[in-house]
Amino acid sequence: MQQSKRWAWLKSWEALMFIILCAVVVANLRLSEHYLDLNNLANIFHLSIEKSLVVLIMAFVIINGEIDLSVASVMGLSATVLAERYDAGWPIAAGFVLALFVGVVCGLLNGLFAAYMGIPSLIVTLAGSIGYRGVARILLEDRSVGDFPSWFTSLGQDGIIGPFHITIFVFIALFILGFVILQYSVFGRYVYAIGNNRAAAEYAGINAKQVKVTIFMASGLIAALAGAFYAARLGNVRANAAEGFELDIITIVLLGGVSIFGGTGTMIGVGLSLLVVLNLRNGMSLSNVDGNTQTSVIGLLLILSVLVPNLIQILQRLVPRLFTAISRILNKGGATEPKSQVSVHQ
């Protein structure tokens, strides 16, 4: 019993992700001599930093039992607002603040419709993803805005510690913050409770609507921040910025062990899954694997990571059954029944 407890974590999703991560790292080491280049290590994070940031908040959204398909459009819109204001002569910092504000407003709208009007967040944020992108189009039309001040672009393009960009440290800080909030704070408790059983949470005096709106607003805020980072990294903004990011983001969160029905998953799992996906993509890029194959491989990984543990469980259940049946046939109603040690039902 003591024994089983100590090793129980091995059966967890986090352990599985960790094992996969190790495998990916080993494979990368063998496949490319450049994998360990400091530049490459920085690139692993740097090239997907915007997605990574949004993954953090998307974990909250999904654990809370909702979904936000509009994040990519909010990223695009905030980058656009920032650029458009800059183009109109505002200092970039002011544009940045406005961009964050716009992100929060988008999140607020999502939250109001989803939580207070009771419209499924899937539709709300789908409409949002079309609409917010549309607003970005209205603002910039077919223009592109660039030539940002160098301090701003250097945030996204130059390392501060070696090749590591400041955005990476922002990510780490937010990850720790997200981890603590989700896993250890009262708010985190509410997020899980609402995601699992909204009615019970409401009976317990939790204002589920308020929590949901807060999370959607945070989602808008983080997406807006990511949008600004995107602008800094690329040094130039068009209305189509960050198009199509949402699916990748959701994939990573789900691979992190978060249930789409809400209520389960941990920040560690999501963090590990992020590392898995980023390293896998990096390794494949270094091996010149094309985009389609990369996506397919991640799709396959997504399926296998759930399938394999489940298959083991199913086999664990079937094998004794088969064994019983065989022994029963052999000694015709035989007296010796094998006992299976493991409980498989949950």
């Binding site: 490459n40 690139n43 997907s48 672009t153 189509n240 890029s285 010149n288 389609n292």
Partner: protein, 346 residues
Amino acid sequence: RAQDPEPIKAEPGVELNMVLLPKTLGNAVFDEAHEGAIEAHEELENPGELIFNAPTPDNAIPGQIEIIEASITQEVDAIMISANDYEQLLPSTTKAMEEDITVVTWDSPVSPEGEDLFIAQVDFTEVGSVMANMALSILGEDGGQFAILSATPDASNQNAWIEAMQTLLEEDEQYANLELVDIVYGNDDPDDSYNEALGLVDSYPDLELIMAPTTVGIAAAAKAMQDEELCGEVAVSGLGLPSEMQEFVENGCSQEFALWSFKDLGYLTYYVSYLLASGAMEAEEGVVFEAGRMGTYTIEADPNREDGLRVLMGPFSVYNADNLEEWAAGGDEEGEPEVEATEEAN
């Protein structure tokens, strides 16, 4: 063609690792370009690798950045890019150039500071005039209403061509009777393009021509006209692949369309990149070189882009019922148009 005495010739056998990076994967034209590049690769007996890689459409710009960064990490010698954005790839292509990697753009350039030079398939203004001429020849002297079905509102190539065409329509008396009523965007999606084409027909009862400077758009528009039995009334023209358009020319839905040879483009691009990366040639205005079977070319200032250098491939092939049969008879299997270029008298 420039008549400089001694064109620079390529020295075969230099080991160079080169990356051919089209916009996305799974598009026929880019595969043709790849074929051309392979032909040149073999002709030049390059013992190095020719890597062909591209992102998925939903990750177009960040995907190209990732591939460029991975190429930098792998210390390749040359990157040949058909850019998904004019500015947003700049930080990474400039970085590549700083690492002494030759960056050559083709099909669609980046801003001049981020590339060594651009292999222009045809002159941008020429595309405008070719489209104007096709419109004129279809609508006749009396002219009539026509509309443009483009790719995305922010596709820089298309926008440049359309702009060139519009300028021409305004300035040249010849086109006085051609009335451009609308520009719509099908997002290079067959579905959207099909619907946009029909929307045009519905909105403008007197419309006589849809001009689509995109291969996806032109095919979808032609099919839409065919389905609605409008082929006699509304003509479809623009830039299209002969293999996709043959049917519509035969049944009269499209009289004329144009395109250049992507295979040649790939071939030429490879040659130029090889010359630059092997150090045989500098990317400077006025340099004359020989590109294998395609003959001699000169590096010239790009009239459309300040400080930009280009190699102009040309010429256009305009396809119609007469030469398409030849094309079909000759090159169907190999996918290479055998028609001699019909240089537009302009």
